[in-house]
Symmetry: C2
């Protein structure tokens, strides 16, 4: 009993101590914010993003553009005076080739489409087949006897990305199990101007691999209405898609070494690859640029934290976090030296909160840290943070943080030709950079690592 009381007193003392220690960073936080939002660095992350994406364009796993993008960033961050190196990764190399879909019956109509990543192609003359339109996996099961030899069109409503993406990921194998010859999946988006949205899909082991592509919300709804009226629908799908041998690529790593504990690391990240449409400005050029911007801001201010600030620009995130998994495998031996891993991969619009995953004790520290963001009114700490690329670390117990932004339009553009600089705003990116930099710098400079 008395022993417990001692512990409580001790914990309270420590927390009070940490609160005071973090509060001591108010001035430096203000300097970082001023530089990023109002000072010489204003709009820099936006300009860098525009220069980069305008020069390179999209950069899908395995492409020459991705190679160029990595060289570009290696060069640009080196010229920025940072310590940069590349860490080799083998990555998937799927190529789209020429592709098209056309409704032939009840009338001729071109269907805007994008083959899904990892899909097999069709024979050169395409696959011409009658269509079965379903609204859910359940409906597919109920109508399994109608599916043999057909192209299954999934016209599932959009509920949320996390829930609805299952149709893109697993639609082909589910349809193949009941004898379908191809699938067309309604794009995973709440909004459309007849825009197809691509993405990765997963064939299930032991199931026949059939070609699969996304079509637009509009065309999926059209075919559903035609089917409801009992009209026979015939579509021809032609895809040259194929998977080549794995390609050589790299995670791009830049850092400012810590002065006291260089082996201890606060890791900032975004992914450099994108889909092969649009410019990959939002997904995830913005996340990559603000993670670089943090190092620039700290350097510009002549700061150097106790621990190392490390920016990693992942490769082949879109194929299932390939570069990030490789990085984890190589570096998990130093798990105990990773203080905090941070990822921005949900856009760099107006920041709403920092999402944090970690122990209650670590959360208490982070609650103090986000108070330093009062000048930009983003002092909210949310209680889960997940991201494809940092999840291995979180699962291993390392504290993690993700950037939560106003993302109501994120999925309108996601994985489509609409993911371009046009959706980005320099003032919003300034706020993201400021938030990202204050959190990373302060955590990297505290006396102690975050408690596990």
């Amino acid at each position: 009993y008395r022993f417990n009381a001692y512990i409580v007193v001790f914990v309270c003392f420590c927390m009070k101590d940490t609160a005071a220690e973090v509060a001591g960073y108010a001035d430096v936080a203000k300097r970082i914010i001023d530089l990023a939002v109002f000072g010489a660095a204003q709009n820099r992350s936006y300009r860098r993003l525009a220069d980069f994406t305008d020069a390179i364009g999209s950069r899908v796993s395995g492409s020459q553009s991705l190679e160029m993008a990595i060289k570009y960033m290696h060069n640009a961050m080196s010229q920025d005076g940072l310590d940069v190196h590349l860490e080799p990764v083998k990555i998937p190399h799927w190529v789209r080739g020429k592709e098209s879909a056309e409704m032939i019956m009840p009338r001729s109509k071109n269907l805007a489409m994008l083959g899904l990543g990892s899909s097999v192609g069709t024979p050169p003359e395409g696959i011409k087949a009658e269509v079965l339109v379903v609204q859910s996996f359940d409906e597919l099961k109920l109508r399994a006897s109608e599916a043999a030899g057909k192209i299954v069109v999934f016209n599932q409503p959009f509920v949320s990305y996390g829930e609805t993406v299952a149709y893109r990921a697993f639609g082909a194998s589910e349809a193949a199990k009941v004898g379908a010859v191809a699938t067309l999946i309604r794009s995973i988006t709440p909004f459309s101007v007849n825009s197809p949205h691509t993405g990765w899909q997963d064939y299930q082991a032991g199931v026949n691999r059939i070609p699969t592509a996304c079509i637009t919300v509009e065309d999926a709804e059209l075919m559903w209405r035609l089917a409801q009226r009992g009209q026979k629908i015939v579509v021809r799908l032609t895809m040259e898609a194929k998977t080549l041998p794995d390609a050589d690529s790299f995670n791009t790593v830049a850092e400012i070494k810590g002065w006291e504990h260089p082996e201890q690391v606060v890791l900032l990240s975004g992914h450099l690859d994108s889909w092969d449409v649009g410019q990959g400005a939002m997904d995830d050029g913005g996340g990559a640029m603000i993670s670089w911007e943090v190092l620039s801001l700290i350097k510009d201010l002549g700061l150097r934290p106790r621990r190392t600030l490390r920016t990693v620009l992942w490769t082949a995130e879109e194929q299932g976090g390939v570069g990030a998994q490789q990085y984890f495998n190589l570096h998990k031996v130093n798990l105990n030296n990773f203080d905090l891993v941070m990822e921005s991969d949900l856009g760099t619009f107006t920041p709403v909160a920092l999402q944090f995953t970690g122990s209650d004790a670590a959360r208490k520290v982070m609650e103090e840290v986000v108070k330093l963001l009062a000048p930009i009114n983003t002092t909210k700490l949310e209680s889960h943070g997940e991201g494809t690329d940092i999840s291995p670390w979180l699962e291993a117990g390392v504290p993690g943080a993700s950037l939560h932004v106003e993302d109501s339009r994120y999925f309108w553009f996601h994985h489509s030709e609409g993911d371009t600089m046009t959706v980005q705003d320099p003032a919003e990116m300034n706020l993201c950079s400021a938030l990202w930099a204050v959190v990373a710098y302060v955590v990297a400079d505290l006396q102690d690592m975050l408690p596990r």
Copy 2:
């Protein structure tokens, strides 16, 4: 002095009389609204629009689809028990053919594009030229000496459709005057998912005719940023576009004859043609369907007004109100028998108001009429109503009315592949039909025609 007083008394007496007369239609207005919004006709105009646009698709002036559309509507309205006839019109026949645009320098990128209506084509190998990007006609004038031999890209900001559409309409001739070989116009839209928006354009007499197409907001902004950085941009534009001899077409006319004054007419209208992209559901399938729906509702209720209710589905509106102008030319001899001309061509979303053009005396009557719409909360009368297709009548002094709907997203989809049934809502169309029917029926049944 006393004479004036007599007039005032007389006018007051008349107005009071009219107010009472219009108020007497409250019950019949309620019956129309109930049938359209809650009763057996609920969602009928939406279903008819879906059946029609799903079956026909887009239907540009001169196309076989437009011919099919006119036959379809003649047949459908006849089967609905209406008196239907066709009135011949010669219409423009411009065909798009194959077309593409590609940025070649500083890197290779496909540019989503749509040739503009009436544009000439390019040589078969296309036009390959350096690009001059300008943001306004003023900038083009200032930089006239740079334009010779170039493809001029207009990256004008979107202010409003009415203002900004000048770039689509006149961009080619303005650029040709300073020696440009082709123009690419940023699509006239406040929002984009890399979506090109086509439309008509006008060559100026005596000016060299150069090919012209719209590109996306995203690509116009991209080329503007590249140009700002001093980078040389080269584009290849290839268009098979050409104008064929005028084609035969028809305005489609259906009516319910008035029992007392069959020669006097309340005219309801929308246009049946569309651009050759999307389904033309919003522009202007919806306007056509609610104008048909009015006749169906009146017939279903066993009503027959004093004057004739006439629905006209114009042809070739998109080429400059060609069918409507022809109709005016033929029927203006009976100008004095046209009581009110109505047009819906800005969408059939939630109705906001009736826009009215006419004398103060006529407005006083219309203010009473819209009070009958209290059950659906659309009693607002606005003070200008314009539309391409009814403007000749308005200019000749005939009272006119247009449907004003919540149109914040109208230009997001306008003249693009995004103009489909997906943007339409059955409940919203019910409200439009109810408003349209109450106004048309009551005006057609009042003792007197609207005062000029």
